[in-house]
């Protein structure tokens, strides 16, 4: 433990973190229509965790460990890669969303769904990676 931050900072951060995460979800899902997208939403998710790390210290590490961040980053990359590669097994090109094996949607709707899955994958990868970067910079001296 380096130094315990003040009660004011901890209270306000604990109040704000859920709202930041909610806005991150909005940024991810709303990326088609306006400002936002996978990278921005993932960065916002990472900001919420990093704020909690700064103000809560080791308690935050118990709630959301570095291992979980690694799993999330790898899962996001895996999701992106799968959406890219799976259409190739169904006779389409790499990242061709119309080749996705979701047979109950067609055409534009399928492309839309594919972009949404890609955005979620990017968001998870960015989220996990940024939290990992912060954890490696901060070291083990909690």
């Amino acid at each position: 433990m380096i130094q315990q931050p003040s009660t004011i900072v901890r209270t306000v951060v604990n109040l704000l973190v859920p709202f930041i995460q909610l806005f991150a979800l909005y940024a991810i899902v709303h990326g088609h229509y306006g400002a936002g997208g996978g990278f921005q939403g993932g960065a916002l998710l990472a900001v919420s965790i990093v704020l909690s790390r700064i103000s809560n210290g080791a308690e935050s590490l118990e709630r959301f460990s570095s291992t979980r961040a690694t799993v999330i980053a790898a899962g996001g990359m895996l999701l992106f890669g799968l959406v890219g590669i799976v259409p190739m097994f169904f006779g389409a090109s790499f990242l061709d969303y119309e080749g996705l094996p979701l047979f109950w949607v067609h055409g534009a709707e399928l492309r839309y769904l594919g972009i949404l899955i890609i955005e979620v994958g990017i968001a998870l990868a960015v989220f996990g990676t940024l939290v990992l970067i912060y954890d490696s910079l901060a070291g083990d001296k909690w």
């Binding site: 931050p5 003040s6 900072v9 951060v13 704000l16």
Partner: protein, 108 residues
């Protein structure tokens, strides 16, 4: 017309408070007094400006501006508090009134 008057009053007072905090940044002697000016005058100036803009274009973005205003009113003073507390803990010396001329500066 009445709406425009309200908007003008809000934006002008917001710009006034922003200008006051900018002058304070230049005129105040050390980090603590400057943060004191930024934490209060800047928050109020930004909130007044955004209130004026939200009333001027009265639509869905007004609600979003309201959320941003609430966020700024919570987050800006907290950030100032955290930075000032960190400076105090790391031992930044606090400015005190000196005799006129002892450091080549007029006594403020």
């Amino acid at each position: 017309m009445a709406v425009n008057s309200v908007v003008i009053a809000l934006v002008v007072s917001g710009v006034f408070f922003m200008a006051v905090s900018a002058i304070a940044m230049l005129r105040f002697p050390d980090f603590y007094t400057r943060s004191h000016a930024m934490g209060k005058a800047d928050t109020l100036g930004l909130v007044l400006l955004m209130a004026g803009l939200g009333i001027y274009s009265w639509e869905l973005s007004s609600l979003k501006l309201l959320f941003v205003m609430v966020f700024i009113m919570i987050a800006n003073p907290t950030a100032t508090h955290a930075i000032v507390k960190a400076a105090l803990k790391s031992g930044l010396p606090i400015w005190t009134r000196k005799e006129a001329g002892s450091d080549g500066r007029e006594g403020i």
